[in-house]
Symmetry: C2
Subunit: 441 residues, 2 copies
């Protein structure tokens, strides 16, 4: 979203607008509180989440305005009375928002956000909030799982071409960066967010130049200090030997080859053999970068097999969160007109009341358990995670810099026990209800 | 994309820009042709595809301009010579584009587009083209599979909240509509594309009003001619009986209840029992709309089980194409400087040369086979599918209206045999190479 612009509240489901009208006509103007959370389920293969997307969500809430053409369009539907449509020109989001700060390590079934506003307003923003927080939380989580699997090796986001649309490509670059990636291939994300950008050459470059050696030499002329050669256009081992030859010539002119990239095929044995070829030529400093189909599972498989990979480009499967392309994020009415409420249809339990998430840590900062309580209680020796970030529709905290988010996620993740970080069959982090919250269910 | 604006070429991978520089510095300015296609593979559970996204792709190509801030940003990277960056202010995409018209039924491993331009230009647009065509083709295909499974029942796109970002939500609504969906819940897509919008009420509405009956009555007061009641906030059968009571009162005032909506739980037996409750009350015209977790597989399962469902809201799993969240769409150099070229690394075969896809049909229009040939050959009794849509960077065909795309997809799909439409283990549509194309491989 461009921050200088308003944001159209028509980015919503029609029923949010029909309900707005019906609330108004039935004189329901009282305040409501909605809880936003990820519904846990058997199939959800995630031991933890990283809350993300709050900055965009709050910017959107601040900037929601019905434009004249928005109102003309609604008029054209012949569904809403003119008076209702006229009233939309005054619309502002005037609510309060409590949320976990972006970058908080969190878990399914605990609120990441609670929105309190006159019910029509709180209802209208549902679709936008789930869209924004759901996707970014999903990607930041996937990216942090990749970081965990890579055991300290640098990762770069290469997903732009396979992201689900333009906006998704931008959000993925940002979400991966705050999770600890060293950079992105996405140049526009570099410009917009200040994320380091990186990139090398494609197979088409090697083909156009007519061969590995020609391509490597040409690239080295243009970027002598910043070369990573793509070695698998034809035969990866010949490619490696060509890279060695060009690198040795570069060395004579004082330039070091940074790395070679492998983009296809089996990775474990190949990378070890390439390492051998490089080392034998005295090019121990040349890194091997692998970029084919990686996500946390493939990174883990390669490294467990002993692959000699120094860094990964992580693309498609990160960009769409291929194993879990959506989260079951929901936004449920928890309180209305001073009444705690909840939906009771079978199988999907929601919690009534305005809530707080209290995190219990041990003396070293290690996360022990979360307690879901009511918003106004205090629980000794815990930290409340939901912070008031918006009041009467205005931001009350400036969004943190990306570097600060990186640090917050790094620290938070280090406080989480390894049992909750397994890529599959992770332990379930303990979450319980406070007595006060239990009593109002 | 807003069509009045320029589009930043920084929406690309950094290597496209580093290669541009290296091409220039190595005096490689000749024309290149890249083929864009979906790589077929064992795991790809799709018997056919629907080409989509061409309108956005061509608009983007026409509007690509480096802004002053784009150039300042590139300068700040200390990676490119000033002269190169200055030259970008002149950048226009000046190439020719051949493409399958949007809405063409097509298959893996055949080109959906070929781009011919000076190699630096053709290279730069790779990322954007794959992003745009890949995602929309994926969603239009998923949506058409849903249409097939629904056997004539109306489908509505409900995916906005779970789409991967803002832009994805818009693209999904459009892609689903051209595939035959009757509408979308996405109001902004209704405004932008003229897609019919629809929507009803949420569980929060029922909770806020205090009960099923109160909520249904209130909604009927606001939208007497346009009511679909959500009946599963508490107990779905009680909800159905409440809907009957309110509907009978509405009838006295001359208003017909349009439908009831079920959003959770088991669907087959539930829908049959609800049908019984409605019919017994003489409400045979009231439709049952189901909206929980549907995609082509779940629609098929429900209908095969005999569910009494008249229409489906199709949400999350469509919006992210949950079973296949990305396509392996690639953009491969096929010709450069009057030389046919291809990458030969093992396992991933690409085809050299400028190509055409020739479709063989029988006398009734039924698709028999596709023949991949060279662009300049003619093959009797076939229709060439790749059309020149852009010349020297300018659109030479106005994009078709969405209604025309709907009709094109409907007709094309009716010409495809059922064997290629199975949701799983579809037959493989025959594609062969012409002799002339074989000879240049």
């Amino acid at each position: 979203m461009n921050r200088d612009e308003t944001f159209s509240p028509l980015f919503t489901d029609l029923y949010e607008l029909t309900m707005m009208l019906a609330y108004g006509e039935n004189h329901l103007a009282a305040k409501a509180t909605f809880s936003l959370y990820i519904r846990g389920s058997e199939w959800l293969n995630r031991g933890f989440f990283v809350a993300a997307g709050l900055e965009d969500a709050l910017y959107g809430l601040e900037r929601m305005r019905f434009s004249p053409t928005d109102m003309d369009y609604l008029q054209s539907l012949n569904l809403f009375p003119e008076e209702f449509i006229r009233s939309l020109s005054e619309f502002r989001f005037t609510g309060d928002v409590w949320a976990m700060p972006e970058g908080t390590i969190c878990f399914a079934d605990e609120p990441l956000m609670e929105v309190t506003a006159p019910i029509a307003e709180a209802q209208l923003v549902e679709t936008f909030l789930i869209n924004t927080l759901g996707f970014q939380t999903n990607i930041a989580t996937k990216a942090l799982r990749c970081m965990h699997a890579a055991k300290g090796r640098p990762l770069v986001d290469f997903s732009l071409r396979r992201a689900q649309g333009l906006d998704a490509g931008m959000q993925v670059a940002r979400s991966a960066y705050i999770a600890g990636f060293t950079g992105t291939s996405n140049v526009l994300a570099g410009k917009k967010y200040g994320i380091p950008v990186s990139g090398t050459m494609a197979h088409s470059f090697v083909l156009a130049l007519g061969g590995d050696v020609e391509a490597f030499q040409a690239y080295a002329r243009s970027f002598p200090g910043n070369c990573i050669f793509l070695i698998d256009t034809h035969d990866v081992f010949e490619g490696a030997r060509s890279a060695v030859n060009v690198a040795l010539n570069m060395a004579k002119e004082g330039h070091l080859l940074k790395g070679v990239r492998i983009d296809s095929g089996e990775m474990v044995e190949t990378s070890k053999m390439i390492r051998g070829i490089l080392d034998e030529a005295g090019l121990g400093q040349v890194q091997i970068i692998a970029t084919s189909g990686f996500d946390e599972f493939e990174i883990d498989k390669a490294l467990s097999g002993g692959a000699a990979i120094d860094a990964f480009g992580v693309g498609t499967k990160l960009g769409v969160s291929a194993d879990t392309p959506y989260l079951d994020m929901v936004y449920k009415l928890a309180r209305f007109d001073d009444r705690d409420v909840r939906k009771t249809s079978p199988g999907k339990i929601t919690l009534a009341g305005e809530k707080q998430v209290f995190r219990k840590t041990d003396r070293t900062g290690r996360y022990v358990a979360d307690i879901l309580g009511t918003r106004n209680e205090t629980i000794d020796e815990t930290e409340p995670l939901l912070i008031k970030v918006m009041e009467n529709g205005l931001l009350i905290l400036a969004p943190p810099a990306l570097q600060e988010l990186r640090e917050r996620i790094r620290t938070g993740f280090s406080n989480l026990d390894d049992g909750y970080k397994h890529l599959d069959h992770s332990d379930k982090y303990p979450i319980r209800l406070s007595r006060r919250l239990s009593e109002i269910q």
